[in-house]
């Protein structure tokens, strides 16, 4: 989680909006054992209060799972800037 202030309001909205564009079930968590949070729920994502430099694990299940996780990681890596 490279963003300056962590997963605050605006980054959370971007992450959720992107997650919702995929059909798969997508979750993230602070470790590979969870606890897992539904990335498509803006309220649940914000409740995690994920800070800067936190390490996030993603997991997804569904036909477009691979593409979904790649897209979400790419969004975080480009610091939540929307694609031009």
């Amino acid at each position: 989680m490279l963003h300056e202030v962590g997963l605050h309001a605006r980054p959370s909205v971007r992450l959720t909006q992107l997650a919702k564009s995929f059909a798969s079930r997508i979750e993230f968590g602070p470790s590979n054992e969870g606890p897992w949070t539904d990335v498509k729920s803006i309220v649940k994502v914000m409740k995690t209060k994920t800070p800067k430099d936190a390490l996030l694990y993603f997991r997804a299940e569904g036909a477009d799972a691979q593409a979904a996780v790649s897209a979400l990681i790419a969004l975080i890596e480009r610091d939540f800037e929307t694609e031009a």
Partner: protein, 130 residues
């Protein structure tokens, strides 16, 4: 035409309503129909049914409209405005039981993904103080 659920923000204060709408636009973007109203004609605090009706129509979407309100009259006047809508619109407008600013951003985020009116309301109302 935008097929996402619309969001209406009704506050006693035009500054609060405009500010909440600004937050929705800047955080969520332009993919949801959005309107706000608030303030009395003389410049003081207040809400009125005609302005709320007009705001609902500005934010109108065939998918419906979710209304976020602040206190007392904002809620009762919004309910009155909904009752004055034609039958075909009436059952597609809901007042969300959620904090006005946070609820508007949550509702708009859900709406921007093309969710149903019921899902938009549920997301706004899911937000409770921790």
């Amino acid at each position: 035409m935008n097929s996402n659920v619309g969001i209406v923000i009704v506050s006693h204060s035009p500054d609060v309503a405009r500010g909440a709408a600004d937050m929705v636009r800047q955080m969520v973007g332009d993919d949801v129909p959005l309107a706000w109203c608030g303030g009395a004609p003389g410049g003081g605090l207040g809400t009125n049914v005609e302005e709320i009706l007009a705001a609902i129509n500005r934010a109108w979407s065939e998918a419906g409209v979710a209304v976020l309100v602040d206190l007392g009259g904002a809620e009762t006047n919004s309910e009155m405005a909904i009752e004055m809508l034609p039958d075909r619109q009436q059952n597609r407008v809901v007042v969300c039981n959620a904090p006005i600013v946070e609820g508007a951003v949550m509702a708009a985020t859900e709406a921007s993904a093309g969710s149903s009116l019921e899902d938009v309301r549920r997301t706004a109302e899911e937000l409770k103080p921790a």
